[in-house]
Symmetry: C2
Subunit: 377 residues, 2 copies
């Protein structure tokens, strides 16, 4: 089957680009002395994750218990569930643990640490727990220097079925950077604050075998991983326009696109209307605050080559309006009704989430496979 | 099962509210002399659509062929596919037609009209086609007064297997209104321009049995449907914060919400962090341009009652940050780790699209059923 024979809209994944993106970051992390723990939340698919792990057994990160269950059923046994745990989710965590999954959870409060203890005793398991650190004010995590760190650490190490595995952070603010200097500063902040927390734990006689940091921008540009054992990243696998906008990749590195058909023209307004609306592209407007606003996505031809400065400027549920970014008027007759285009995503995680599967290519127009995504919680 | 026993995040639908919202609009359309043709794109679920049709056999609207196939398999035989048709989709249209579905498609170009003719002859079917009219510059459609209308109409009526069914428009600009006056003006514009097109067709000796308009805001506030045969609306079934923001409903009419758990606090910043990020809520920021920006959703307690002025201000993939809209600092201890909240959606169609099913309640905390959604194209 060729791309031109597919029903539109659908999600296209170039596995050659995935391989190159993953190889780059994995090797870079090795050079700096840390393991890359790939995040499953972007791909939500086992074939892509196997590609990212280069055929070896490695640990991964997930953002939902559904992902943990899916990846475990597909042979991955070392998983970090990197969203703060709540008591009601611990039964499902314990069920995976009892089936042989080394599943770590994270927490940043005494209440969560105690809930982990209770669940471990209830289920007769040893539950590995990481303490989440706030390195940049982005969302969750214990502040470096807050005595809460040791309070949680001591609960997790008092021998009630919980294993204190270490510390973990995510420099989510790096997505808001405008230049490499900003990313490098955040990368060092991420490293330094997390290492400092690991040292506080150890100085108190507590174990801290894992010091886990990560975001695609900081992982790409960090120059020093002293004290770090692993780096987590997800969007690096596919890349997207937000990453290109802050210099983390080139637009040509983006492995994900939405195949779409031209369904209408408004000649007077210079609009080409396609069947990729927010339902196919997502409503994510991640580049709106960047130097170049790329709307809901950059327009390529069916071969994946960018067409002039065309972008999807407006979306409704099943309609996207393609215009010329620089304000020039587009001649819609260049793109007849029924012709196909490919849209590069603003945010790959969000665009992926709107689809059930990937149509897999390797550079050309031949569809080599269909890879299913997991979804839900 | 009670709401408090559900895994979070998940989608909750109050069927009593759906029933009241649907009954209101259906009866209002009857009073004004038109049929309500409910749009399946918001619910994407047969039980909700049956509720909207009050147990009677009625026609519906859909936004994808997948929806058309799903609803036809669930007994609905009169369907308008209200997104401009492309040649490659006509095989699937014809397959439904041959199975007995009265499926109409829409077009706004000579190329599409000819493609409909070709497909009808190829498959030996009679394909009903509506001409899409642009009433407000929102997206697709023939401009009223453009000779293109008659060009298309004549092709559709020259007896080559296609049946000219009439004209159709959607006043999508009504979502951008700020007050009722704006909505009423657009409602009259929508009616008047579409009726004018129907008269142009008839004056040329062409049939126009269907004159179809619709959007939830204009349908709610129109006072005159002279010349209109049917009105289409979808979001009226569930309502949302965008609709409440322009006065189409009260916040208490919103039937859809996302059940979420508190997973963290940042006391110094006055943040409560929940497990509903953009993956559960969608990245839609529809109220951002309204008088009151309600972020990614309004926060309710588990019973569905709005809590102060709390809203989800920021989202990541699986994290939502709840803050006080008026800028007051929130005391996170009011919402302990693991406690549950419900988030009202900015845009019901978009939030629904992030989930596979609805947990159905009727006012209380008891889960009465789980209704599945269809998805994809």
């Amino acid at each position: 089957m060729r791309l031109s024979e597919l029903d539109t809209p659908c999600l296209v994944l170039d596995k050659g680009k995935v391989d190159r993106n993953c190889t780059f970051l994995r090797e870079r992390m090795h050079q700096l002395g840390a393991e890359l723990r790939v995040h499953g939340k972007t791909a939500k698919n086992i074939e892509a994750i196997r590609l990212a792990m280069s055929g070896q057994d490695r640990g991964i990160t997930v953002s939902t218990l559904k992902e943990a269950e899916y990846f475990f059923e597909n042979g991955i046994t070392d998983i970090v569930y990197a969203v703060g745990i709540v008591p009601a989710k611990l039964d499902r965590v314990a069920a995976l643990t009892r089936r042989g999954c080394a599943l770590s959870v994270i927490c940043d409060s005494v209440a969560q640490a105690r809930a982990c203890e209770t669940a471990s005793r209830k289920h007769g398991i040893t539950l590995p727990v990481l303490i989440e650190i706030d390195c940049d004010g982005h969302r969750c995590g214990v502040q470096p220097g807050d005595p809460l760190l040791l309070d949680i650490g001591r609960i997790l190490h008092r021998g009630n079925g919980v294993e204190l595995r270490g510390v973990l952070t995510h420099a989510g603010e790096s997505y808001n950077c405008r230049d490499l200097n900003c990313i490098r500063k955040l990368a060092e902040l991420e490293r330094e604050r997390t290492v400092r927390c690991s040292e506080q734990l150890r100085a108190d006689g507590l174990p801290c075998p894992v010091v886990s940091i990560g975001s695609t921008p900081t992982a790409t540009f960090t120059e020093n991983l002293t004290g770090i054992t692993e780096v987590r990243a997800g969007v690096h696998m596919f890349m997207d326009l937000v990453m290109a906008g802050i210099g983390v990749c080139e637009v040509s590195d983006i492995a994900l696109s939405v195949l779409t058909s031209v369904i209408g023209h408004q000649k007077d307004r210079g609009w080409v209307i396609v069947d990729a609306g927010w339902m196919a592209l997502s409503a994510d407007r991640g580049t709106a605050s960047q130097q170049v606003d790329r709307g809901y996505g950059v327009v390529c031809d069916i071969h994946g080559d960018v067409v002039d400065n065309l972008m999807v400027e407006t979306v409704n549920q099943e309609h996207g309006i393609v215009t010329h970014r620089a304000g020039e008027k587009l001649d819609p007759d260049r793109f007849p009704i029924g012709s196909m285009l490919r849209i590069l995503p603003s945010h790959a995680c969000a665009t992926g989430a709107m689809h059930n599967s990937y149509q897999v290519i390797d550079g050309g127009a031949e569809v080599l496979a269909e890879w299913q995504r997991t979804a839900g919680w």
